[in-house]
Subunit: 393 residues, 2 copies
């Protein structure tokens, strides 16, 4: 047998997509011959990229041994940086967070301070595992290919900062992605949703779009900005001012900061979005009324989004998502009222189950995508230092 390292990537991709597979499964799915499949599996196995799973059921003959991606072969370091804090996590190669930590730090403190804290947290979290990739999520537009933030509206001091370079010491691929986009991937991929919108409702309102199974980033990485589209409100003649400088944005009516503003105006003191959610859960009449109203404004915006993009699912995450049906009922009401029947027929609108892990999970998946891409898989194989399977026995 000669050196068989080429094209192992496509077989590895099958395991990433399908999970557990027997040799025969791989043969059927890939269309490759038994010899070739065995060679490649041997190659992947000796590199530790796949592992044998017990419990092969017999279907009348010899039971098959089943293989799966060896998720513990190495780890991916991820950090989902938000406006006021970050979640850092060590994830396995399948995207599952193994250990994590949350910290409070303002993005306005600039990249040195924030990335310093992120780096320290990741070092703290990391055990003796090999690190194969790093994924950083940021709350701003990203030039994905270059791995940096460009013209961010809120991330002062981050413009074109070399985030990839900051983690160069690890000597592994570093990907930088918008936080809403990474959430969207985390929601879409495991359930094989090819057309999905992820809404993040926190202090502000953002969204991540996955269509045709890919992230829609737009031409400048600025796509998904639903928060600053026009709100549909009866009093359109006197639109409320938004923090973006414009007036009448959805965020100015349904964003977390707008709810705080309105509660204060109604004489209810709240310091942050979490307290708004608490009040709603306690049944505070004013808070519930405002959140319901916000749901309807948001619903009108989402209805347009549904008409334009025709997603199969809308997943809501962020702090306000904890309001559950108080918020969602208004969204559903408007969406099913306004969007075309065809677009809503198979549409599901629900709250994310991933919680604070959504960001880091998505980042791990995106990082793994890069790591195991056909372009880079050979490079990875090389760096494993495994002697290639050789002709000499």
């Amino acid at each position: 047998m000669k050196d068989v390292r080429t094209h192992v990537g496509e077989v590895l991709a099958l395991f990433r997509e399908h999970g557990e597979l027997s040799r025969t499964d791989v043969i059927e799915i890939s269309g490759l011959s038994r010899s070739t499949v065995n060679q490649r599996l041997a190659s992947l196995h000796s590199a530790g990229l796949i592992e044998e799973i017990g419990g092969g059921e017999s279907t009348g003959g010899r039971p098959s041994s089943r293989f799966a991606l060896n998720r513990r072969r190495a780890v991916l370091l991820t950090a989902d940086i938000g406006a006021t804090g970050f979640v850092a996590a060590v994830c396995d190669l399948g995207g599952t967070p193994l250990r994590h930590v949350s910290e409070l730090v303002d993005v306005w403190d600039g990249p040195h301070r924030v990335l310093g804290a992120v780096g320290a947290a990741l070092t703290e979290l990391l055990g003796d595992e090999e690190v194969w990739g790093i994924g950083i999520g940021v709350p701003g537009p990203v030039e994905f290919a270059a791995g940096r933030v460009v013209n961010p509206p809120i991330m002062t001091g981050w413009d074109r900062f070399d985030i990839v370079g900051w983690f160069a010491d690890y000597g592994v691929p570093v990907v930088v992605e918008n936080d809403a986009n990474s959430r969207a991937v985390a929601e879409a991929r495991p359930h094989r949703h090819d057309n999905l919108i992820s809404l993040k409702l926190g202090t502000g309102i953002g969204s991540g779009l996955v269509f045709n199974g890919q992230i829609i980033r737009g031409s400048e990485g600025a796509a998904g900005d639903i928060g600053h589209t026009r709100a549909a409100v009866p009093d359109a003649a006197n639109p409320l001012p938004c923090r973006c400088g414009n007036v009448g944005c959805v965020e100015a009516y349904a964003g977390g900061w707008a709810l705080i503003r309105d509660l204060e105006a109604a004489g209810v003191h709240v310091d942050n979005v979490a307290e708004v959610v608490s009040l709603v859960k306690l049944g505070n009449i004013e808070a519930v009324r405002l959140v319901r109203q916000a749901g309807r404004v948001l619903g009108d915006a989402v209805a347009d989004l549904v008409s334009i993009l025709n997603p199969e699912m809308i997943v809501v995450s962020g702090q306000l998502a904890d309001c559950d049906e108080v918020l969602l009922s208004g969204v559903r009401e408007r969406v099913y009222q306004r969007s075309q029947p065809l677009a809503t027929r198979n549409l599901a609108i629900r709250v994310s189950q991933l919680g604070e892990f959504a960001g880091v999970t998505g980042l791990a998946l995106i990082t793994a995508d890069q790591l195991f891409s056909t372009d880079r898989i050979d490079e990875l194989f090389e760096s494993l230092g495994e002697p290639p399977v050789s002709a000499v026995q």
Copy 2:
């Protein structure tokens, strides 16, 4: 030399993408060896898929011979069916319409009548060229994989009709695509725009979305329906009724039928959208006022679209596009006023230069995509009946 038919597709794809290439160009772009490139080029050449172009400039040594896709090797039959008529065209393999004809026929007459007329027109247009593919554009949601219309709002009698089967006699691949989508491809592909929105302004308002270089069809093929999103109008308390049954849609304010309605109400008699455009060109004050107003309503909707999708270009086509700046100025005004600076920085908004050919050009491109896809290229090669290049000389 042995049979070399496999993987010619990837080399052919290079010619489709880059146009004219020398052997050395192909070697550099593909990373293949000289022998392999020569084999594949010989294979493609003998099948007539590429042709030699004269005029190889010398750069100090022997001048290179240049090759390009042989666009005249066969033709693609295309028909862009609109609500009240169709454009049928014979296109070359590069997507250029060679001969065409327009006919008036209502889609409401049903598929048998319309496709009958389309088929007759195509037969009339076809010379002695080989036909390699057929592309049909329709004004409704399409289940692309199945090649049929599903749950169309306006195409009565077309639901799930087997359009592919209608053209089965030709024995070639048939693709069915939404008309706005095919236009978008025609605008995007030749200029290598990966993130583009095509707006079609006729009696109604539709749009085609190309992002990441792919058509966004949505989960039911219903994406792009910007005409029935909410209009931003001061008098939001009394929204105008739309023909879709809802109220306050963009189309109810800026659609061709709405302009006719408003002109009639103002005492100006018009029969169709073409007459509205004529009045605008003649400088009719009322018509110009209404079209300007429509531009602003449309602009507000487009501004939201820009915030959400961050395209690099918006191309306007359809009958109303002939109003040029009278319409576009309002669109630009609102877009640059409302959308985030980052999203508008490199945004171009312009009128399509393709005119009535946009639909059929896009259809030809999409059909060629299918025809030359890696899945189907071998099949095509087989059917050419060309004896494969053999070892015997």
